[in-house]
Symmetry: C2
Subunit: 205 residues, 2 copies
DNA sequence: GAGTCTTAAACAAACGTTTATATAACAGCC
DNA sequence: GGCTGTTATATAAACGTTTGTTTAAGACTC
């Protein structure tokens, strides 16, 4: 009878399709505001497949968070943990991050907006990633800064400050899109990256 | 019979109690993640009272957003729309805002974290507030800045940038609280305000 | 008695998760 | 080449809760 089942070729994409749609919907309605039925139907997948692949809705969220944090951390390592002047390294880090945030803006929104949810499991999960990020910034930015006679700033202040500043465009985009029209078109990503880079370099100097 | 009804004195507090608990829970579980039954029972109020006072769950959210935006806008008007040097005015604005964000940190989290939810009604609501904020910044910061020979920066970039920077501590607090312990105690609010103030003043100069 | 506040009960709808069953691909064996 | 058991993927249906909202009636103040 007419049970339709994907071939293995098509099936290979199911898991990725779930993640892609989940990121989009979580960013728009929030995690709690997204139902698994809406998610599965938009991904063209049976409802039960989500629990099959990810164990639970929370498992799906964790996988999304992990993807984002891993990439963000990789950029920090690549750009900051190398030879060269602080200023130059920071500039590369900022440009790399802004481009990354733009390409992964929905991931970014999920990661930041689901921040304060008091599920201890999720918070602990995020804290372990943040811990590594803070350690890099402490070693590669804060310490060199005082060594060069610059300002003293705690990594637990600088980390959030840097991230929030670079993310500001994407964080406020849904509202700014409604505010902008009568003023001007949106700045290009390159202009934005340059503005943020200049701002942050002045800031820490 | 034993129907217990508050006296009018006690009742006068019901609406305020709902708002107070709602802000707290929305900040912790998110808007969609907070059930009206949890909310009403924690506020010591009957479930139906929420719809009685606010019409709907969304109406309650709107009232919370309005409270926050109105106060934030009031600070901007008070500190920026007056005689005096740009630098000095900005410093007052930053200090005032940081203190306000600290006192209303749960409001802040709700306002920012519920930002991207694609409910057109909510977005439009926020946009009208943001519009006024951007107008003030354009007139009181961006224009004087170029007049003084400073940098050119669009208000739709500066607004989010300023707000995100000042909010960074509160935005990341739930995670940073788990990261910090092995490093150091949290900086005092005064230290934080000073750090942010110095950073931002350098940034726009 | 009018008006404001409060209550318990009920509503249909949506929620995350689990179940039992079915299909497809591939392995080893004859 | 055909048969078989295994594994991974897919499906529809049902599970018991919980959701936001509405209703009709009661209590209190003035």
């Amino acid at each position: 009878m007419g049970k339709k089942v994907n071939t293995k070729q098509e099936a290979a994409g199911s898991k990725e399709r779930i993640v892609r749609v989940a990121v989009k919907l979580f960013a728009r309605h929030g995690y709690a505001g997204t139902g698994l039925r809406e998610l599965s139907s938009e991904a063209g997948v049976n409802l039960a497949m989500i629990n099959y692949f990810f164990g639970s809705k929370k498992g799906l969220l964790k996988e999304i968070l992990d993807t984002f944090y891993a990439k963000y951390l990789e950029i920090a390592r690549m750009e900051l943990e190398q030879e060269g002047g602080l200023q130059e390294k920071l500039e590369h880090f900022i440009y790399g991050t802004v481009i990354f945030f733009d390409a992964y803006k929905d991931y970014l929104l999920v990661t930041i907006n689901e921040l304060p949810h008091d599920d201890p499991e999720i918070i602990e999960h995020k804290a372990s990633w943040a811990q590594m990020m803070i350690a890099i910034m402490e070693k590669e930015i804060c310490r060199p800064l005082v060594a060069e006679g610059g300002r003293v700033i705690s990594p637990t202040v600088l980390g959030p400050l840097l991230t929030a500043t670079m993310a500001s465009r994407f964080l406020f985009a849904p509202v700014m899109d409604r505010v902008r029209p009568e003023n001007c078109p949106m700045e290009s990503l390159e202009e934005y990256a340059e503005t943020i880079s200049i701002s942050l370099l002045k800031m820490i100097s």
